[in-house]
Symmetry: D2
Subunit: 132 residues, 4 copies
């Protein structure tokens, strides 16, 4: 995320907001952010939001996400808001929304839902990656 110039602008239990200033490097020829970049930032906001509800030392893996693109992401800044909808023993479900800020006006550009999985870090850690 740091590579992209993103920063967390709000952190609370079950809530993380990430802001990303637009840059030429991230936009396509039409000035819009690529769908993968928008998805990646909202997914990250959701992942960090999920982390705020987990034990220290836990890591979070994205199991799946789905994004609906509501409008092209153009402007000065993208804000992604990740919110935990449900915390379980193994799985956490989050909703994330992306807004562009342009000249002080906010526009809803994407909505995402995701399933996250908690993984206890460590050499013995087994996770979704492992053959079963």
């Amino acid at each position: 995320m740091a590579t992209l110039g993103a920063e967390m602008v709000h952190v609370a239990t079950g809530e993380v907001d990430i802001a990303l200033p637009f840059s030429e490097r991230l936009t396509q020829q039409d000035g819009y952010l690529h769908a993968g970049v928008v998805a990646g930032v909202v997914d990250s906001a959701c992942g960090y939001a999920a982390l705020t509800t987990m034990d220290a030392g836990a890591e979070v893996l994205t199991v799946e996400f789905k994004i609906n693109l509501l409008a092209p992401a153009a402007g000065e800044r993208l804000v992604a808001r990740g919110r935990v909808l449900r915390t379980g023993r193994t799985l956490t479900v989050c909703r994330g929304d992306a807004f562009t800020i342009d000249d002080g006006r906010e526009k809803h550009v994407a909505t995402l839902t995701t399933t996250m999985m908690a993984r206890v870090a460590g050499p013995a850690g087994r996770d979704i990656a492992e053959p079963s």
Copy 2:
């Protein structure tokens, strides 16, 4: 895509494969590709696959996509295969799969489905981006 070092390695009607060499810039601290990067590459393969079925001059917009991450994306190279499932007047539905290549062995790391929308380019072009 070029910024990422990606290249098209297969193009046929309704089919596009994109290969992406791993680089430090794209991977996280654990050596895995970020979910947003995997999603972006598979979404692009699907978008180009959709384009092969459209009239010249058409552009393609991602309406939505959903990705299931099956295993961490680690290795030397990621190959994303976009395939058109259905072409309609307005909407095209594609499936995309991502595989990592490591030491000659292929591993299925993600599967994605997406709805794409054709947009005729030009100043009068109205699309999903427009205020309704």
Copy 3:
């Protein structure tokens, strides 16, 4: 919907709520509503919500939906709330949430996002169903 015993309990522009009383016929051996039933009811609430924003005579088709099941749907009644997130010329994006009501207490059991397509009814109507 009528077959299921469902009824609309709230209608406003961009908003429809549907209530469904639990019945033996709809539940599985464990007393829970089948995921398909929950999905169908929330999808319907979204479809009717989309209809409230369209011209008279329009019909609505579900292009895709995704549902995350947050908890088993058990109780006396299911309430599905469909809300329009974005209205476009061709596509409408909605969010829907399902809650069970049990002994006066509400529980969030599912969240859904969907893309709907407007179709003008009539013999000349061409839609997603047609071969392209």
Copy 4:
């Protein structure tokens, strides 16, 4: 499923096909199967396919699914094919496709991806339903 008149017509490890004859009770005024019914049948085919890869006594819960409707489901019979894409310790990812059979011709009407969770049955069973 039995209530709907559905039956399993193919079972192998990681594979289950379910066939559903059309009936007036299941179709809408236009003769098409409701999206929720199609989704429910494909989700069931995936759930049973997941079960074939699990230990005896295991139960399977749908965590999430996403369906793209490719064409209206009209005809004599619907066949849903559930296939396991990945089996993990906790989660199983499946793909399901629905086809209508009309006058001997098969038409691809829907594609679905889903995450399933194994649950060991029993009084001590804790699952996605539980408060965490």
